[in-house]
């Protein structure tokens, strides 16, 4: 049977059922993507537009209280706040502080454990991935005990070494780095998983070719593995820049509430604080819009870089 003869036979039942429910074939593809469009609309775009609109109003989030148009006043108010600049500065510290744990260490772990075999491979995997599967609030609670200035095991150990106890979460000099370390400890597993997968995906014959070409183990890492992992590493850099401050939110909320003296607050925590502690939705929305625009620009630049460093091996 020719294809021409076959086609009407196959197409007829579909057309008939489409006609029965009153849809033309042109509408069908739209029907297929409707669930995704709805989800995006309800959970992403509608809140985005709402936040943009709310950033020009003064409102305390109570359903019956009036929304008062204030123009760009919310924007000028938040930019005048010292707290905002402190939070932005801290956000940068969070990002820079997280990068070693979200990219550099996982990259090294992924590369150097690539050749591990059998029992050791499972052992290291368990070691790395366990933090990833612990619920963040539980992890935060456990860290609070561990870091307790009087009875925490870490301080007991320090005292045993003759070092004065450190208030890891209460000392403004230590608190942000403590939160960064806890966030990073939670992240290493995820980042290692992504980089290990990318590393395992490198065609083994490229490594063999490099061995034949005389490259040493280090030269293979430097000339073959790292360049081929660069797009994945950049992806993780992007995730850290865009989401680093969000990832630390739980630990800030549970362990320090942004303190002491705002030393651990970051832009996400501040947003939340404006909206849900101070109940000033206008400020919160204005900060959110600024953040959205700022991170969009950064994301665009990073996406361009990822494209530039993606090498497709076929």
């Amino acid at each position: 049977m020719s294809t021409a003869a076959l086609q009407p036979v196959l197409a007829r039942p579909i057309r008939r059922s489409v006609r029965r429910i009153g849809l033309s074939a042109e509408l069908l593809p739209w029907l297929y993507i409707l669930p995704a469009v709805l989800a995006f609309g309800v959970w992403i775009y509608e809140p985005l537009i709402r936040a943009f609109m709310l950033s020009f109003y003064e409102w305390n989030m109570l359903p019956f209280s009036p929304q008062k148009w204030v123009g760009t006043q919310n924007y000028s108010n938040i930019f005048a706040l010292q707290k905002l600049w402190q939070a932005l500065g801290n956000t940068a510290i969070y990002v820079v502080g997280l990068l070693p744990m979200s990219v550099a260490i996982p990259l090294a772990v992924a590369i150097f454990t690539h050749d591990l075999k059998g029992r050791w491979r499972n052992f290291y995997r368990a070691l790395i991935f366990v933090p990833m599967i612990i619920a963040p609030v539980v992890a935060a609670a456990v860290w609070r005990w561990l870091l307790d200035p009087q009875h925490g095991i870490l301080n007991l150990a320090l005292q045993g070494l003759g070092i004065a106890p450190i208030d890891f979460l209460g000392d403004p000099n230590f608190a942000i780095w403590t939160i960064i370390l806890i966030t990073g400890w939670k992240l290493i597993g995820f980042a290692t998983l992504i980089l290990s997968a990318a590393n395992a995906n490198i065609n083994p014959s490229l490594i063999e070719a490099a061995r034949m070409d005389g490259a040493s183990s280090w030269e293979i890492v430097r000339d073959i593995r790292l360049p081929l992992l660069s797009s994945t590493a950049l992806f993780l850099v992007m995730m850290t820049i865009l989401l680093g401050a969000q990832w630390s939110f739980t630990y800030i909320n549970v362990l320090t509430a942004g303190g002491p003296l705002g030393s651990t607050t970051n832009i996400y925590y501040l947003l939340w604080d404006f909206g849900f502690s101070s109940m000033s939705v206008g400020w919160s929305s204005a900060a959110a819009v600024v953040l959205f625009v700022g991170f969009s620009v950064i994301a665009f630049g990073l996406f361009r870089m990822i494209e530039r460093y993606s090498f497709y091996d076929n």
Partner: protein, 375 residues
């Protein structure tokens, strides 16, 4: 240039032996082709020569130096991989120049050598491109460039043409042959493609199930295959195998009902034994149905342009016959298949080993007249 000596080389994975004592000697400048079906161990053997696989037992020597424990780079071999293994993030120039960069060759010297190799392989216009921007044939040439530029003692090719389309494969085959003539470098080429094997090889090794079945020139192996496996593996369409029995005075009874006078001295010692008879499709003749020849009817005809292959049903196994000229035979016709005794190959029925020198090897040039007796 170098010679290569493989002595009793064995390879096991988890106590399962995959190579069972390989012995080979390859002289300076020889183009050796290892051919065999998938899983016969040919690529493993090549990778053992390259140093990418450990040698479980035995020795591999290059220029009389045992290289078992040497790193791949220290063996002086260059390898062209099946998937080319070009570094996707490097340009053609960087790919070809990479072994030189690793060896610490100065930039100007490197550029000169890369340009030389690129000119030889007609890649001059593509030096700035990345592998993804090249066609299959160009990638193949870059892979060869990277091998050539090191001036290795030994070239290793691991099925380098199998990813190319049919036309390009023939073209690259010819280029590799020309290149070898020009560089005269000792080369080991692994393939499962019998045409590549026959056309490229100075010396051909046929492997099966981790063992060497036969070593020789392509002509020798084609004319006198050492076993039924070799006979069936080389040649397209494949050799026909018919069950037979050796009668008195070296005559043959081809089952089920054809008798043929061969007068072979060598067959005498096998009198009364059942054997396997091999006949190449191009050594058979089709004729009108007669009392002479094996009676058959034509089941299917394959048109190859220059020739046609008739697949004929007999009372025994199916027989393929290559028809030349304008023989007017159609599917369904009744025919008689004529045998030339000097083109027959004899194999032991049980293990497939060749019996004696075989008629074919001794009398290949003999008269093409029909000497077939029938009953």
């Amino acid at each position: 240039m170098a010679n290569l000596q493989i002595a009793n080389a064995r390879k096991s994975y988890d106590n399962k032996q995959v190579l069972h004592g390989i012995d080979l000697h390859i002289e300076d400048g020889t183009f050796l082709v290892i051919v065999g079906p998938s899983g016969c161990g040919k690529s493993t053997l090549l990778r053992m020569i390259a140093g990418l696989e450990d040698i479980t037992d035995g020795t591999i020597s290059i220029d009389d130096e045992v290289v078992n424990d040497l790193e791949p780079s220290a063996r002086g071999c260059a390898m062209v991989f099946q998937n080319y293994a070009l570094y996707p993030h490097m340009s053609v120039e960087q790919n070809i120049g990479y072994p030189l960069k690793i060896a610490g060759v100065s930039k100007p010297e490197r550029a000169r050598k890369v340009a030389e190799a690129a000119a030889l392989l007609e890649l001059g216009d593509y030096l700035d491109r990345r592998p993804a921007q090249l066609s299959g044939g160009q990638r193949q040439r870059v892979a060869m460039g990277r091998a050539i530029v090191r001036e290795p003692r030994l070239f290793l090719f691991d099925e380098p043409l199998s990813n190319l389309d049919a036309k390009l494969r023939v073209q690259m085959r010819i280029e590799i042959k020309r290149l070898h003539r020009r560089l005269s470098a000792t080369s080991v080429f692994v393939t499962h493609d019998q045409v590549e094997a026959m056309t490229l090889a100075d010396k051909l090794v046929v492997m099966n199930a981790g063992k060497v079945e036969q070593v020789g020139t392509p002509g020798e192996i084609y004319r006198a295959p050492a076993s039924a496996f070799v006979a069936g593996f080389l040649g397209a369409p494949a050799m026909n195998f018919l069950p037979g029995k050796v009668l008195q005075q070296g005559n043959l009874h081809i089952l089920p009902n054809t008798e043929i006078a061969v007068h072979s001295q060598e067959l005498h010692q096998w009198t009364g034994r059942e054997i396997t008879i091999g006949i190449r499709p191009e050594s058979l003749l089709l004729g009108k149905p007669s009392a002479e020849g094996i009676p058959a009817h034509v089941d299917l005809i394959e048109e190859l342009g220059g020739s046609r292959v008739a697949y004929c049903r007999t009372d025994g196994p199916e027989i393929a016959v290559v028809m030349h000229g304008d023989l007017t035979v159609r599917e369904g016709d009744r025919v008689s298949i004529g045998l030339l005794p000097e083109h027959l190959h004899f194999f032991e029925k049980t293990n497939g080993q060749r019996l004696g020198g075989g008629q074919a090897s001794q009398q290949a040039q003999a008269s093409r007249a029909m000497h077939v007796a029938f009953n």
